[in-house]
């Protein structure tokens, strides 16, 4: 067992920190969020230049062949800057699918990810499905060499920026069967695909996708037809690990800001940080953060374990992070008083991002149930 970072990893962290410092202070971030596009293409180019977009891909595929610890470092530092560019969506989630696809798909698509040419989004959620990844009414039927897709996908994170989608569909079986789930690549310009974009409360963007007889070649299938459920669950767990990493970055900023604020803000003739009740609240925030860091390390180190162990790691981490996100977010606002309620201060924006992380890819109840059923 070893909890230390290699020199290479520390270098990677420093690189991201410099990027944030130079390009992502709070004012710059807000300008990006409020811009027409909602992200900054220049940043995406810089990610490509820094090699970040190739992080998890094998050297054979043109990537750096880094593991989950490196992804954790990137996501954690992005979390500190509240970065909105869809790194996790494109590289971790969709990249996770692509690097496990067959040779021709890899060859066709991975270079575009690494170069920064393509942005990807994962369309999995459906209105009736909640957090059940297999609850799908979107169907694909094979017609000669093509799949014909019909259905509706909701709240596709990063959708407005994506030119490629990975879509989970049902190719057979009943609405919630794990058998019969398949994974397809759909181009943004496909006929029959209509997309409605909108901003999200945490400063990002998302889309609703309607698919009406969208026709794609059967070569765009990732994995085996009908056997996509396992793959999806694995990649969602990898995504959860990355989101948890992002969350601990955001929590760290909120905790530090709160302690700092309480040391300077005076009421009743002394810094409010001298009031014992607020001190203990900040200690509780600190403990929640430390426990979250522990679970985040753990899940990132256990992604390759056998199913039950990975399941418990991912669901356990998501539960801890969600609880901490709520507690730290709410407490930071409360301790900042009126200032914490304003749009002007960064605190509320970290709180909003953490609030969305709380429920993303399954809320506390969902993951407690998954945790206990994974024996």
């Amino acid at each position: 067992m070893d909890f230390s970072f290699s020199e290479e990893q520390t270098l990677l962290r420093n690189t991201i920190q410099s990027f944030i410092q130079d390009n992502y202070d709070f004012d710059k971030r807000q300008a990006i969020v409020k811009s027409e596009e909602g992200m900054k293409q220049e940043n995406w180019k810089q990610f490509a230049e820094l090699g970040l977009l190739g992080l998890p891909f094998s050297e054979e595929d043109g990537g750096l062949n880094f593991g989950s610890v490196e992804t954790m470092i990137v996501a954690e530092e992005f979390g500190k800057g509240l970065v909105v560019e869809p790194y996790i969506q494109t590289v971790v989630t969709c990249g996770g699918f692509l690097r496990r696809a067959n040779a021709s798909i890899k060859e066709k698509y991975i270079p575009g990810v690494i170069s920064g040419q393509d942005i990807w989004a994962f369309a999995y959620a459906e209105p009736q499905g909640r957090y059940n990844l297999n609850d799908l009414t979107t169907t694909a039927t094979l017609d000669g060499d093509n799949y014909i897709i019909n259905g509706y996908k909701s709240v596709v994170s990063g959708g407005p920026w994506a030119n490629k989608f990975i879509v989970s569909v049902r190719t057979s079986g009943d609405q919630r069967d794990s058998d019969g789930v398949s994974v397809l690549i759909v181009d943004k310009n496909s006929e029959g695909l209509s997309i409605r974009d909108y901003p999200t409360v945490d400063g990002s963007r998302a889309s609703e996708l309607t698919l009406e007889n969208v026709t794609i070649s059967k070569d765009e299938l990732i994995g085996e037809e009908g056997k996509g459920a396992e793959l999806i669950e694995l990649i969602v767990d990898e995504t959860i690990a990355a989101i948890c990493s992002e969350a601990i970055g955001a929590m760290k900023v909120l905790n530090d800001a709160t302690v700092e604020y309480c040391k300077t803000r005076k009421q009743f003739g002394q810094p409010i940080g001298k009031f014992q009740v607020l001190q203990h609240r900040m200690v509780d925030m600190f403990m929640q953060y430390e426990q979250s860091v522990s679970m985040t390390y753990m899940v990132n180190l256990k992604l390759d374990e056998e199913y039950a162990e990975r399941r418990k790691a991912a669901s356990g981490a998501k539960v801890q992070i969600a609880k901490a996100a709520k507690f730290i977010g709410q407490s930071a606002v409360q301790l900042h008083g009126g200032m914490g309620m304003t749009d002007e201060l960064n605190v509320g924006h970290y709180f909003k991002r953490l609030s969305m992380i709380e429920n993303s890819y399954g809320n506390i109840d969902h993951h407690l149930k998954k945790y206990s059923s994974a024996e």
Binding site: V155, V201, F275, Q330, G348, M356, N359, N363
Partner: protein
């Protein structure tokens, strides 16, 4: 001890229901709740109630109150919440009114109360300053007596709905030596006076509810002083006590839980409705129990009050529990709508040409914003930590 409603109570309830049903403005029913209301919209229900004589149930009858007993007031609140009437603006009715009745002179009683009752005067509250949040006594906005005027200089913040206000009741410092509590006075300031500048504060949910108010050499006639000079602290505390009672919001929280249950009955989870999930259900039940307890705690407080006891520091319980429950309702509602808490759908977005109302189910619109916005309730009106300090000192004698 008895919880029964008398025949008279039931008749009263019917009368209230009928009245609301017939008189609640059609326009307010139609207005999309997600749109910001105009000043006139906000006042339309007020004016109906004024005409009926039901605008100030909490005031003594001689000043325009209704003369209702606590049971009747309870029924009134219940039915207003059940029928979803728009909340009334509390600054005049709940806050300033009782202050003027208790501390104002005859002249003030005349013009201030009339203006509040009729809805002609919209009041806002000039309490908080950026250097003085929960620590009111450290306020620095200064009023200097010059002839028959006060000249006011300073800066107020978190002033709710000041953008609509005609008048502001304002705490100002009239003496700078001695204990900080001793040099405070309570002034009524015309918002149209020269030297007043109102700047919006946008809150984290994107809304414009609160403002900064800058005062530069604002001339305020001396007769707009309420009570004696330097007795503002006593008035301020009296007012805060009143503010806390209303803040429990039991009837509206009940209604919000009903809405939450409706949502949970529409949402799906693993092919069944969310409302049938044992974990989610237990959380709702737990919340309902807490709210029921608060309801009876409030009734017990009102009963005491009606006998001339209180509202003592016990009303701080109502503030703490009331806001905790409101916050948990918004939290659970956000949880209930799942993925559709994410979209940030605003009229501005619609003006860009997209019909946002068709994204996600109707009930999902604005739930996240509402959750974010409701975090304020444990901060404003004396933070919940301050309320606990008050109980510790006043009730437990610690």
């Amino acid at each position: 001890m008895d919880l029964a409603f008398t025949k008279e109570d039931e008749n009263f309830r019917q009368e209230v229901k009928d009245f609301i049903d017939k008189n609640f403005p059609q326009k307010l029913k139609d207005i999309d709740k997600r749109t910001d209301l105009t000043r006139e919209d906000m006042l339309s229900w007020h004016k109906v109630l004024y005409k009926k004589g039901w605008i100030a149930p909490q005031w003594p009858e001689e000043y325009g109150g209704t003369g209702w007993n606590i049971t009747q007031r309870y029924i009134w609140d219940q039915e207003c919440a059940n029928m979803g009437t728009t909340p009334l603006i509390p600054f005049g009715l709940t806050m300033l009114g009782p202050v003027i009745i208790g501390f104002g002179n005859e002249d003030q009683k005349d013009w201030v109360l009339k203006g509040i009752l009729s809805g002609n005067d919209w009041w806002c509250q000039g309490y908080s300053e950026s250097g003085a949040g929960s620590d009111l006594a450290s306020l620095r906005t200064k009023a200097e007596k010059v002839g028959d005027h006060y000249v006011v200089n300073g800066h107020k913040t978190w002033t709710t709905l000041a953008q609509f206000a005609d008048w502001m009741f304002c705490l100002v410092r009239t003496k700078s030596d001695g204990k900080p509590q001793e040099g405070i006075s309570f002034l009524l300031i015309d918002m149209k006076a020269e030297g007043i500048d109102v700047k919006p504060i946008i809150t984290l949910d994107g809304g414009h509810e609160v403002n900064e108010v800058f005062l530069e050499d604002v001339k305020v006639p001396a007769e707009n002083l309420v009570g004696e000079e330097n007795m503002g602290w006593t008035i301020a505390k009296f007012l805060l006590g009143n503010e806390r009672t209303g803040i429990a919001g039991v009837a509206r929280s009940k209604k919000a839980i009903e809405r939450l249950k409706d949502i949970a009955s529409s949402e799906y989870m693993d092919g069944d409705n969310l409302i049938n999930d044992s974990d989610f259900n237990s959380k709702i039940a737990d919340l309902e129990v807490d709210l029921t307890a608060l309801e009876y705690t409030e009734l017990r407080t009102l009963a005491k009050e009606s006998k001339g006891e209180g509202p003592g520091a016990e009303s701080s319980i109502l503030k703490i529990k009331g806001t905790e429950i409101q916050q948990r309702i918004t939290e659970l509602t956000m949880e209930a709508v799942g993925h559709y808490s994410n979209p940030y759908l605003t009229p501005a977005f619609e003006r860009q040409g997209s019909n946002y109302l068709t994204i996600g189910p109707d009930y999902s619109h604005g739930v996240a914003q509402n959750y974010f916005n409701t975090r304020k309730t444990s901060i404003y009106g004396g933070s919940n930590e301050i309320q606990k300090n008050i109980i510790a000192k006043m009730v437990l004698g610690l």
